[in-house]
Every structure is written in C-alpha cells, then in structure tokens.
C-alpha cells in the first residue's frame, strides 16, 4: 500500500519522540516512592534513621537561599557550601528567620543591611549594575548588528572583487611566469589590496 511519505515521516518522528521521552523518564519513574526494605534481615534493622533537619521543607528552602548568599570569610563560596563558622551562623540565621515566617526577600534584606550587596551572588539591579545586567544583551544586539552589517557589506565587496580578480590573476600569472622573482607573499591573490 503506497503511503504518503510526509505521513510516514510524521509517524517516524512521533515514534522517535515517544521513545526518547520514555528513555528519559523510565529510570526516574522507577525511582518513585520508596519501597519497604523487605530484603533486610529484621534482626539487624534498627529502624529508620531520623532526618538531621527537624523540618525538611524548611531545610530545603534554607539551602536554596543559602546558595545565593556569599560567605564573606571564604575565598569564594556560598554559605551553603562552606563550613566556616560565619557561614554556619548565617545559615542558622536564615533558618531561624524563615522558620519565624519571614519570606525570602526579608531575609535577603536583613543580610544586605548588615553586610551590603557583597553578600548577594545575584547582584541587585541598580544604577551601578546596569552595565552588568544589560551588558550581555547589548553585546548580543551589537554582535547581531555587526553581523548583519558585515554580511551586507560583504556581498558588495565580493562583487567588486570578483570584477577585479580576473585582471589581477592575469597580472600574477605574467609576474610568475616572467622570472618568478616576485615574493610569493605578494603574488598570493589572498594578499592583495
């Protein structure tokens, strides 16, 4: 039966898509809810180990925020990564304040009031950081503009060059044929004005 090649292609892509999605998801689906460790000999099982954090949700929030805060005494680490005493103190502060119901911005404000913008790994958007935050965009626009301009200019240049090159090549040939004294450098068509 003759099939529409376009349809075939669509089906093929569909299948490939499904397969890849399954490939990605399968190992994770299996990592779903924890199973009871029924394979353990009961005699040696001393029960479930308690979590270090009393409140895992709070701990996760604290760590997430801590990753964005710079440890002041360390070389260049967030307070989440460092075990310097000050980093531990600051983590405790963050945890305490989050537990007291403050939201993340309040905690950030609290630390910035005391340690300045230096403590933030994500610098605030303000006059002094304008260039930092808009610089990449400006570079991108500049790059794109340059590219467009260059490509347009180029098509003009190449057209003129092609017109010239016929005579040039002829001249180069005569030069080379006649004694070959001309330095190869200047005879190279790549190196003419």
């Amino acid at each position: 039966m003759p099939a529409d090649p376009k349809l075939l292609l669509a089906v093929r892509h569909g299948l490939a898509a499904g397969a890849l999605a399954l490939l990605l998801a399968a190992p994770l689906q299996a990592a779903g809810p924890a199973s009871v460790p029924d394979g353990l000999p009961a005699a040696t099982d001393a029960g479930v180990a308690p979590a270090l954090a009393a409140d895992p949700k709070l701990e996760a929030d604290m760590m997430e925020l801590s990753h964005k805060l710079r440890c002041l005494v360390c070389q260049n680490q967030s307070i989440a990564e460092s075990n310097a005493p000050l980093a531990v103190d600051l983590r405790n502060q963050v945890r305490e304040q989050l537990a007291a119901g403050k939201d993340k911005d309040d905690v950030i404000d609290y630390l910035v009031e005391r340690y300045g913008d230096f403590v933030l790994y994500e610098p605030p958007f303000k006059a002094a950081t304008l260039l930092l935050w808009l610089g990449p965009l400006a570079l991108l626009l500049g790059g794109a503009g340059w590219l467009g301009w260059r490509l347009r200019r180029r098509s003009v240049e190449v057209a003129t060059e092609q017109a010239l090159s016929a005579t040039d090549r002829e001249r180069a040939r005569t030069l080379l044929a006649g004694g070959g004294d001309a330095a190869p450098d200047t005879a190279s068509p790549e190196f003419r004005k």
Binding site: L72, D89, E113, R114, Y115, F118
Partner: protein, 197 residues
C-alpha cells in the same frame, strides 16, 4: 591602518588599566553598609561583672570605639598593645565586644554544652586573657553566640567601629589597628566628630 581595527587594542588597554588598578585593591575587604547608620542596639552581659548588663545607648553623648575581639583571635593579639597604649593616653574610650569567646575557638567543641556553662567558660577565659595582656577597655560585653556580631556585619575578628555621639557608626576598620591607621584614619575622625558635636 583603519581606525576600526584599533578597537580591539583600545578595549584591551582599557581592560589592562582596570586590571592594573585592581592590583592596588583588596578584594577581601568588604565595606560596611552600616556607615552613617544608627549602630544596632544591644544589651549584653558584661565580661567583668557577668550579672550586670550593658547597653549601647549608655554611650550616648560620647565619641567611642567598639572593638570586636576574642582570646582565640591571633590578629587581636597583634593590635592589643596599641589599644593598651591608647587607653593609657586616654585618647578615646573603647568598649570591647567579646565575640564568640568559646564557640568561636576551633579547638573547643561546644556540642552538648549548656549556655550557662559556655558563658561561665567565656567569662573565665576572657577575664584571664585581659589580665595577661592588659585591659584597655572601658568594659567588655559578651556576644556568646555571635548574634550581635551579625547585626554589626562582623565577618572577621578584629574589627573596630567608630560611633558618634548620636550612636551612629561613622567608620569601620577591618583587621588589626595599626599605629598608621590610628594616626591617619581613626584619630582624625574622632577629632572631627568631637568638634562637630
């Protein structure tokens, strides 16, 4: 030579200029955002008389220094003789903030230690250290857990804050005070604040 081909060179020279200037800066020194702001108030137990407390507002009307120190802090030992000399000459009153005296010491584990025990230990260690090295302070207060340190944005000991008559922080010195920084920075500022008030 067309001008546009010089652009990379000029950009590079600009960058090199900044890098050269960068060599003169200290990337580890963080200026305090608390300058010209009211110093965070505190009421803490005194090191000399632990049953009494001292509050920052008791210094109102004076130009004074708050010096953050601890007996385990090696750099504090370096600046201490200078503080003692300053006290002898009665240049400016200095209040000590004894910072995490026990738990700040890497050699001691406070895990499982009650706060009372820690405080007692801090008093004992702090007083002995002042006896051994001289006590230049009007008095010292104890910041056992470092909370007040965080309020002041302390990140390394020693640090010294200059506080004016209204209780505003006017200057922060990070690291040990040297005779030079005392003469060129701290004392002129003290004079200026005294005249102004």
């Amino acid at each position: 030579m067309k001008a546009k081909f010089l652009v990379p060179l000029l950009l590079f020279f600009g960058l090199a200029g900044f890098l050269a200037f960068g060599l003169t800066l200290n990337p580890r020194e963080v200026p305090s955002p608390l300058i010209d702001k009211p110093a965070p108030n505190f009421r803490l137990a005194r090191l000399d008389q632990p049953d009494k407390t001292f509050a920052l507002e008791e210094m109102r009307g004076q130009v004074w220094l708050l010096n953050v120190w601890a007996s385990w802090c090696v750099a504090c030992r370096q600046e201490h003789p200078l503080l003692v000399r300053m006290a002898e000459q009665k240049l400016v009153p200095v209040v000590g903030l004894n910072y995490k005296e026990v738990r700040g010491d890497g050699a001691i584990s406070v895990r499982g230690m009650a706060l009372e025990a820690e405080t007692a230990m801090a008093v004992e260690r702090g007083q002995r250290w002042l006896k051994d090295h001289g006590d230049p302070y009007l008095l010292s207060v104890m910041d056992i857990d470092g909370r007040i340190g965080i309020d002041f944005g302390v990140y390394g000991v020693p640090e010294t804050f200059l506080i004016d008559r209204e209780g505003r922080i006017r200057y922060k010195h990070i690291g040990p005070i040297t005779p030079e920084s005392l003469q060129t920075q701290i004392l002129p500022k003290v004079e200026e604040l005294r005249r102004a008030g």
